[in-house]
């Protein structure tokens, strides 16, 4: 019998257990952390967790929270986070990015069994938010957060949490639809007898007729005053602006309100003066359709956030040193001259001068430049940099809100985001539509004035009633909603339907380099030369571990299977390479000049040469790995759009990118503000610009551009404020997305055409003054529904053709 060697898998998180694995309670664990979680759960009898999903846990390797949540012990900071506070009850919401399965829901909602003092915990899975209530007498926020972190759900607490946004989603629209739907259904039912020609000389019939009619009036009141209130208000405001000459744009609310009001007042007149022939059912049906159309427009991808600014990235608190003691302080209360203590991997929240320690600042967050920069004492460090290495002391120069990075958000471009709602298409349509309808209505009135004055008002109101801009208000939201869904299925998430229209109007594409055209994580690496044996790999790995340079890191991760020894000596020559002694062997890695390689032995493609004990072994070739399908995407879009590259990085990849961009369109070494200005300049030349970027360094440019798309390897992860979020794996679909948005707009235009045909038929009926309530009740919903169906079917057909569904 031979034992089958099986992979040992951690009972908690499902990762492979290596030598460091722990054996406990007949189960294997990959690390002490996972075992600890298992212990907590089994201790409280919560092992159902593992029954719901095998290996449901989050890996706890290399997690260490020593002092990380110390700041949650400070009352002022906790107060900022709390939504509700009383002596024995605290309530707050925590964002837990690691929530991923149904077991998480179960465990987190059983938190009160694990921790005394937790009163209730309720998880919103889509938003990954935990609603927590606890008693401050029995526990503290710090203890709870540490427990959550131990369980593998480390909450993300950033400056953004403190700006409490209690803007609870308003349910007004949903209620309006409910009321209107209720009334519309009943009105239609009660209108039926009328259409079957009641005999008004018969006393019973006459009694019913007037009962149904007046009941309809009652039911129509909430439709007009509640259901349609937003349209009427919108029209009133737009009209006021127009008369005050503040704007020239006619909002689409005006033609809608005209139609609704015409229906309402004409029906009132018919009911009370003619005792019959009212259009109540048409009115209710129309308002219901309009509201449903509006509702499809408000649907968004709830689990994504399109509004992140620097506050979501910045820490809430920082350690401040004063008079030999250190304590945590809220970042926003930092004042000039104070000394803060920054640990490894911490973000620097304010512009500051280095006073003590060795600073290696990674500015990739701010500039896109991937190499950490060595800063000497006395030099200025900008906010947004991340310290790599030892602890450092910094003297604050500017308050958080005044620092270089945050200034970007005070730029007007990032505030006007809300205003760009009306697009050229809808604005133009609503303008012509309103004027033409009014023109026809008035000329009809004038015509009948001279021919048959009794028909003036019936004909005039009938024109206004049937000429409803249903194409604009229904086919547009339904088409755009369908497009949004299809995009969503392809992991391209659009903030709202307006973005799709703006996408179709784009004429320049701007790309960021790092993280957008290149993958943010891996690079291609090849070794050429004398083969290196396992022992030598260990030496190289041990040495590169000491360095923070990105190339060292790439080599380090590629020497995966080797052991690590302590380096006896290590020195990093800035901009040249590294050298050191490991196990008394001398190792030198770096550029050709640094290693003094003779010209004859130099290779063009080499990035880093390797010498062991002063003997040249070989060289590494490292290429940034570009996104899949990059060349296809760029060749495809180059035909139709002007493409440019804006990079914060240096121009080392210029050679490679020349093939895809015109040389004069490659721009390197740009600061975030310069990127923003670049785009603003293009817009001044009346260009519609789309920007694709990733990091916070692109946030300004993304906000300024007409359409800003954030590219992310994981859409659930952090992305800066943008109009759309694209999954990096779907980058190759970009040309299709652009094409589809154009097609969608064409479909909307086609349905405009269709509804114009309907309007033509209806209006030619209406101008004769012969529009009966029955005809209106049948024809109006029919035209609306057919236009909507037409648009949706066409959208799906063209999506199929593009292979997006």
């Amino acid at each position: 019998m031979s034992a089958v060697l099986e992979k040992v898998i951690c009972h908690h998180c499902g990762e492979n257990c290596q030598e460091s694995g722990v054996y406990f309670d007949d189960k294997n664990f990959c690390c002490v952390g996972c075992k600890a979680v298992y212990e907590i759960l089994s201790d409280k009898d919560l092992c159902t967790y593992y029954d719901l999903n095998q290996h449901a846990g989050v890996s706890l390797k290399s997690k260490n929270f020593d002092g990380k949540f110390e700041y949650l012990g400070i009352n002022e900071i906790v107060d900022e986070l709390l939504d509700f506070k009383s002596n024995n009850l605290h309530k707050l919401n925590l964002y837990l990015p690691d929530v991923h399965c149904s077991s998480c829901v179960w465990l987190l909602e059983n938190l009160q069994k694990v921790k005394k003092g937790v009163i209730s915990s309720k998880l919103n899975f889509t938003k990954k938010e935990l609603e927590l209530a606890y008693s401050p007498n029995d526990t503290s926020l710090k203890e709870i957060v540490e427990l959550l972190a131990t369980l593998g759900y480390e909450p993300l607490i950033s400056l953004n949490n403190s700006a409490k946004n209690v803007s609870k989603k308003s349910n007004k629209l949903l209620k309006q639809i409910a009321v209107t739907g209720f009334c519309a259904g009943n009105i239609m039912l009660l209108s039926f007898p009328e259409y079957f020609n009641l005999d008004l000389d018969n006393a019973v019939d006459a009694q019913y007729q007037s009962f149904f009619l007046y009941l309809n009036v009652l039911l129509a009141l909430p439709v007009f005053f509640y259901g349609a209130s937003d349209y009427l208000k919108g029209a009133y405001i737009s009209l006021k602006e127009l008369l005050a000459k503040n704007t020239k744009i006619l909002s689409v609310d005006i033609p809608i309100s005209l139609g609704i009001s015409a229906l309402f007042f004409r029906s009132l007149y018919e009911t009370f003066f003619n005792h019959g022939g009212a259009y109540w059912d048409s009115l209710a049906g129309l308002v219901l359709f309009l509201l449903v159309g509006k509702w499809t427009q408000t649907k968004t991808f709830e689990f994504l956030s399109f509004e992140r600014n620097y506050k979501s990235y910045f820490p809430l608190a920082v350690q401040v040193a004063s008079n030999k003691s250190t304590d945590y302080r809220s970042v926003e209360s930092l004042k000039k001259g104070e000394v803060m203590l920054i640990h490894n991997e911490e973000l620097i929240p304010a512009d500051a001068i280095l006073t003590e320690g060795k600073a290696y600042i990674d500015y990739s967050f701010v500039t896109g430049e991937s190499e950490p920069i060595r800063i000497n004492e006395g030099e200025l460090i900008y906010a947004g940099g991340r310290q790599k290495g030892d602890n450092i002391c910094l003297e604050v120069q500017k308050e958080v809100s005044q620092s270089y990075l945050t200034q970007l958000w005070n730029n007007a471009a990032l505030k006007k985001n809300e205003v760009k709602q009306d697009t050229k298409l809808s604005a133009a349509f609503s303008k012509y539509f309103t004027y033409i309808t009014l023109g026809i209505a008035i000329s009809t009135g004038i015509y009948w004035q001279f021919n048959d004055p009794t028909l003036v008002w019936p004909a005039l109101t009938a024109v206004l009633m049937v000429a409803c801009p249903c194409a604009l208000t229904l086919s547009m939201p339904f088409t755009m909603g369908a497009v949004m869904n299809i995009f969503g299925r392809n992991n391209f998430y659009v903030k709202n339907p307006v973005v799709i229209q703006q996408m179709s109007e784009i004429d320049e594409l701007i790309f960021d380099k790092t993280g957008t055209l290149t993958k943010s994580s891996s690079s291609e690496i090849r070794y050429m030369g004398e083969p290196i044996i396992r022992e030598e790999k260990a030496l190289i790995k041990s040495l590169t571990k000491q360095s923070l340079h990105p190339i060292s890191k790439i080599i380090f991760t590629n020497m995966a299977e080797a052991d690590i020894f302590k380096a006896d000596y290590f020195y990093e020559h800035k901009g040249a390479g590294i050298e050191g002694f490991v196990k008394s062997k001398h190792i030198k890695l770096g550029s050709a000049n640094f290693l003094k390689i003779p010209k004859s032995e130099r290779v063009k493609e080499a990035s880093v040469y390797l010498k062991i004990d002063r003997v040249l072994k070989g060289y590494f070739v490292i290429k940034p790995s570009y996104r899949e399908g990059l060349s296809e995407v760029l060749t495809e879009v180059n035909g139709e759009y002007k493409t440019q590259l804006l990079s914060g990085d240096n121009s080392k990849d210029k050679k490679h990118l020349k093939g895809f961009f015109e040389t004069e369109n490659l721009h390197f070494g740009l600061k975030p503000q310069e990127k923003l200005d670049f785009i603003a300049e293009l817009q001044n030349q009346n260009k519609n610009v789309m920007m694709l970027g990733d990091g916070l360094n692109d946030a300004g440019a993304l906000g300024q551009s007409d359409v800003g798309i954030a590219i992310s390897e994981n859409a659930q992860a952090f992305t800066p404020a943008s109009d759309a979020i694209m999954d990096a794996a779907k980058f190759k679909l970009l040309p299709k997305f652009l094409l589809f948005s154009k097609k969608a707009v064409n479909i909307v235009k086609l349905s405009f055409l269709l509804s114009l045909v309907y309007n033509f038929i209806c209006i030619s009926w209406a101008v004769t003054g012969q529009l009966s309530p029955v005809v209106a009740a049948i024809f109006m919903p029919l035209s609306s529904i057919s236009v909507v169906l037409f648009a949706i079917v066409l959208t799906h057909i063209s999506a199929k053709k593009l292979k997006l569904v």
Binding site: S102, V105, K175, L215
Partner: protein, 45 residues
């Protein structure tokens, strides 16, 4: 025959009751999170 009038009013009242129930449910937040309850049910003892 006037029973129809009574019945129509009654029917409207009943339907109105459901409308109120819907209002109550929206205000109570029933439609705010439609995903988690489906998972919650798995863990109930």
């Amino acid at each position: 025959m006037s029973i129809i009038i009574l019945l129509v009013i009654l029917a409207l009242l009943v339907a109105g009751g459901f409308l109120l129930a819907f209002f109550w449910a929206t205000d109570d937040g029933q439609f705010e999170d439609t995903e988690t309850p489906a998972m919650r049910i798995l863990g109930d003892d």
